[in-house]
């Protein structure tokens, strides 16, 4: 009798152990960040303190911009509702610490992808949502029409803690020009100081220059020089060590770009379910099991396209129609002469 009980318990225990093992391997697909996000009911997204076209809040506190749309896409994919995002405005100085210390789960804040950032400080870049380069803004009446017109003694205003500071040094050093770097913590102060005449030039990413120019007292008196002195691929960043979450953010961004490539828009997404093209059908979840591979349901990509739109719609809404950079330049699809090219969703 006792023996039987003993045996029974050991068998039960064995099953229990087996069961926990299997549930654990199944749960491993789910990431900690994903689980936390679903529990909280919103995506925690770090954005800039106000850069029109990329991440900017209106008077009512509604955030818009192409960087904002990446977070919205993730919210649509993971939570089913693109509006369930909590935005945290961060300075350039604070952004990485906020991400690595778990204050936010996605950093989508016009951040340049570099080797040392990707490898050295606990971050992972998931892709590029805007190809940019550093440029210079000057006063039109200064007679400076090219970066070759700068002379020794030139003072340049810029933001603290950015790749801009390093590129600026490389650039002026290569020209052998002694310059005066004036670096502020917040972009608003940079604009104010340049506007007042403290600096001869304002240097940052060209998209930033175009966006900040609108804030000057007389935008028409200023112009951006044609030269680009650096490569600045800007994109969303996640913490290192959660590869499932990394995949979700990467493919949310890729979905937006691929949707544009196949002509799927927020307006026609539902109709595309019956498309003849299998790639399009996969994209809207009518074929294949791509959602399961990410630990999501199969409608995740359809929700992104319906609620946020494809990359082209996002660009038009935020950057082109606002007059910041009507010309897409390198940020055009590879099929149309740009360099936007994402791996296929299959």
């Amino acid at each position: 009798m006792f023996k039987l009980v003993k045996r029974l318990t050991s068998v039960v225990a064995m099953f229990a152990v087996l069961f926990t093992f299997t549930t654990e391997t199944m749960a491993a697909k789910k990431s900690k960040t994903l689980k936390n996000t679903q529990k909280k009911g919103f995506v925690r997204c770090g954005v800039s303190q106000g850069l029109p076209g990329f991440s900017n809040a209106d008077a009512a506190g509604n955030w818009t911009g192409v960087d904002v749309d990446v977070c919205r896409a993730v919210a649509a994919a993971v939570l089913g509702d693109a509006s369930k995002v909590k935005f945290t405005p961060l300075s350039a100085k604070e952004r990485f610490t906020a991400l690595t210390s778990n204050e936010i789960d996605i950093l989508s804040r016009n951040t340049t992808w570099t080797l040392s950032r990707d490898a050295d400080i606990g971050l992972t870049f998931v892709g590029v949502n805007f190809y940019d380069g550093q440029g210079f803004m000057v006063r039109k009446n200064s007679g400076i029409s090219s970066v070759n017109d700068f002379k020794a003694g030139v003072s340049a205003c810029t933001n603290l803690g950015t790749t801009t500071e390093l590129n600026m040094r490389d650039f002026f050093n290569s020209k052998g020009i002694k310059y005066e770097p004036v670096t502020f913590e917040k972009a608003d102060e940079v604009v104010a100081a340049y506007d007042a005449g403290r600096c001869d030039t304002y240097t940052t990413d060209k998209s930033g220059l175009a966006a900040q120019r609108i804030k000057l007292s007389n935008p028409d008196d200023h112009m951006v020089l044609p030269e680009t002195i650096s490569k600045e691929p800007l994109g969303p960043v996640v913490r290192q060590g959660d590869s499932v979450w990394e995949d979700i953010v990467r493919w949310s961004l890729n979905t937006m770009i691929e949707a544009e490539e196949y002509g799927v828009t927020s307006a026609n997404a539902d109709m595309m379910k019956t498309s003849d093209n299998p790639a399009v059908k996969r994209l809207v979840g009518a074929e294949g099991e791509l959602g399961a591979a990410l630990g999501l349901d199969n409608e995740w990509s359809l929700r992104i396209i319906k609620q946020v739109g494809n990359y082209g719609e996002s660009y038009k809404r935020n950057i082109a129609d606002t007059g910041i950079l009507p010309d897409r330049g390198p940020n055009e699809l590879w099929t149309k002469g740009g360099i936007l090219y994402v791996p296929p969703a299959r």
Partner: protein
């Protein structure tokens, strides 16, 4: 009995160690999980960023450690300037508040109430952007005394170009040592024979004559380099040569000293009012002149009340100087805890160094002021 006394302290110590241990262990685990390494090796790496204003030679080819020194020296510079001006303004305003002249007293009171009740960061922004808006562009600047140029790009002043600077410095040091001896001699003479020596006149004389001799005999000479305007483009100009004080330094020093001076003024007023009236009357009755009353009776007693709270103000000013980052003055926080932190990503290392540095600065000021306080305290015989 003894054990009972120690027990609470022992428990507190254990709790403190546990709390610190918990946090550092947590930090370690988190950093390991994210592949972040810890170490101070980055300090010797090339910094590869430039700084607009530096007291020592520096550019991006120097190390992060040198960038740290640049920031530290800039912090010390603005703190020293701030402390000197805050003290001068504070003493003047504090005494003005005691004036029997209604207009002077009210003006001083309004100044104190106005400036100490507005947040410092706002004042810094005000002085910086007000200065930027009010100052002329370089080409429109009117020279002050023909050689100083106050412009939006900075305050350009003539610089001395020295030959044999070391001999000149030795002569100044010699003069200071001589003055110390003269003072000691004068004190002894007064104690032994009751004869007063005009120490001040002799001191000033020494301070002039010795350096002058170094010019005449020591081969020291200095030429003056006056800033000259230079064109950068059709519409933009700057000055070349001479020394340049950036507008960020000027407005930060101005804001810090005007703000802190209000508190020092109140310390001074409290100190002078804290000396009882009887002391002054007694001093006057033994035939001391009003100047002597102030110098020998009132001030020594007032200082004892003034020094400790003023020390706090000096400490506050030094720590407040870290607001510099808002207006691009390259202090320790902007250069090291700002740019260097961003470029290396070494948050824990850099923030810990920065905190230790401010702690050291504050303790140094404290030790000096405590020493001074002890020196002027009543020595009961």
């Amino acid at each position: 009995m003894n054990f009972k006394k120690i027990l609470p302290q022992l428990l507190t110590l254990v709790v403190v160690i546990l709390v610190f241990g918990f946090f550092s262990y947590n930090a370690q685990v988190n950093m390991e999980n994210r592949g972040i390494t810890f170490g101070y090796g980055f300090l010797s790496q090339e910094s590869s960023f430039d700084v607009q204003f530096s007291l020592i030679e520096y550019d991006g080819s120097h190390s992060y450690f040198r960038a740290y020194l640049v920031g530290l020296l800039n912090t010390i510079l603005v703190s020293v300037i701030g402390i000197v001006f805050a003290t001068i303004i504070g003493v003047v305003v504090g005494i003005a508040r005691l004036s029997s002249n209604y207009l002077i007293e009210r003006t001083a009171a309004i100044y104190v109430e106005f400036f100490r009740n507005i947040p410092l960061l706002l004042q810094i922004f005000f002085w910086y952007f007000a200065a930027l808006r009010a100052l002329p562009l370089p080409e429109k600047a009117e020279p002050i005394f023909g050689v100083f140029f106050l412009t939006i790009k900075g305050f350009f002043v003539p610089a001395f170009i020295w030959n044999n600077l070391d001999i000149f410095i030795y002569s100044v040091i010699a003069a200071i040592i001589a003055i110390v001896f003269v003072r000691l001699y004068a004190k002894k003479k007064q104690e032994n024979q009751g004869i007063q020596t005009p120490v001040l006149l002799i001191s000033i004389g020494l301070l002039f004559i010795l350096p002058l001799l170094s010019f005449l005999l020591g081969g020291v000479n200095a030429s003056i380099e006056i800033p000259v305007i230079e064109q950068l483009s059709q519409t933009s100009f700057t000055y070349k040569g001479g020394l340049k004080l950036p507008p960020e330094l000027i407005s930060l020093a101005l804001a810090l000293s005007l703000y802190t001076a209000t508190f020092i003024a109140e310390c001074v007023r409290a100190g002078v009012q804290g000396v009882s009236k009887g002391q002054k009357e007694a001093a006057a009755s033994i035939g001391l002149t009003p100047n002597q009353v102030l110098k020998l009776v009132v001030m020594p007693q007032a200082l004892r009340i003034i020094i400790p709270p003023t020390t706090n103000q000096y400490l506050n000013l030094t720590k407040n100087s870290s607001l510099a980052a808002a207006i691009a003055y390259p202090d320790l926080v902007l250069v090291f805890a700002g740019t260097a932190l961003m470029q290396t990503g070494r948050a824990i290392e850099i923030v810990s160094i920065t905190m230790l540095t401010y702690l050291t600065l504050s303790i140094t000021i404290s030790i000096f002021m405590n020493w001074y306080n002890k020196k002027i305290a009543i020595k009961e015989k």
